[in-house]
Amino acid sequence: MKYILLMSGTAAGVEGYHSRPKQDIEAHMAVLHLINKDLSESGEFVATQGLAGPKEAKVVRGEKNGIPVTDGIFPESKEFLLGYWIVDVPNAERAYAIAGRISAASSNMPIEVRQFATYEATSR
């Protein structure tokens, strides 16, 4: 079963993170690397990515005269996806355990856990 673990935060939260002491950021990154390494070794790792900051985000709605209509103005409260992990695990509890470990490494930030849609998941 594939799950995506989503880490989200606001633009203000991202700025706060970048203003932390360098060694704190390095320690955080080191734990995240260790988690990725453990997931690779257990065969549960599918993918992980960080996204570029909210300043570069755009929302696109349809097109006008063949040109995409883009908007880059977001409310302060908007939560942006900061990064994600895709894992392939035997059950939901294992996905929650991995999310808990990532959360514990990241100031107990909440991690949203979502299963990939499958025929079984969508046709109940």
Binding site: K22, E79, A99, N108
Partner: protein
């Protein structure tokens, strides 16, 4: 350059829409054709749909490091319904693709013009953080 295109919906609007069957089929056929075209152009990295919000959980580490799960979300929360990861030459091309999937047909074949959030995917943490 890799981009992620995110299709977000509110909790209330997230489920199989109650459209006439032929409109649903036209919508799905449009998305499949769009994915096929991206694949043929070598721009498609991944495309996935996610299960519905009633199965979503929010996990935080507890004091003992165990996962604490919560499944109660405010009505205003945006949920990721699905995403595409694409590898393109420019942000403009990413916006073009986003506009195309945004205009997927809805009821009666009218373009939905759904908002699609476009974000660049970083290849890794900045070198000074490693």
């Amino acid at each position: 350059m890799k981009y992620i295109l995110m299709m977000n919906t509110m909790k209330s609007g997230h489920g199989v829409p109650e459209w006439p069957r032929k409109d649903l089929q036209a919508h799905v056929a449009f998305m499949m054709a769009a994915n096929k075209e991206l694949h043929e152009r070598g721009e498609l990295v991944a495309a996935e749909g996610l299960s519905f919000p009633d199965q979503a959980k929010l996990v935080r580490a507890g004091k003992d490091g165990r996962p604490m799960t919560d499944g109660i979300f405010p009505e205003s929360k945006e949920f990721l319904a699905g995403f595409w990861i694409i590898d393109v030459d420019s942000p403009q091309r990413a916006y073009e693709i986003a506009a195309k999937v945004s205009a997927a047909p809805g009821p009666g074949g009218a373009p939905l013009n759904m908002p699609i959030e476009v974000r660049q995917v970083m290849s890794g943490p900045p070198p000074d953080m490693l």
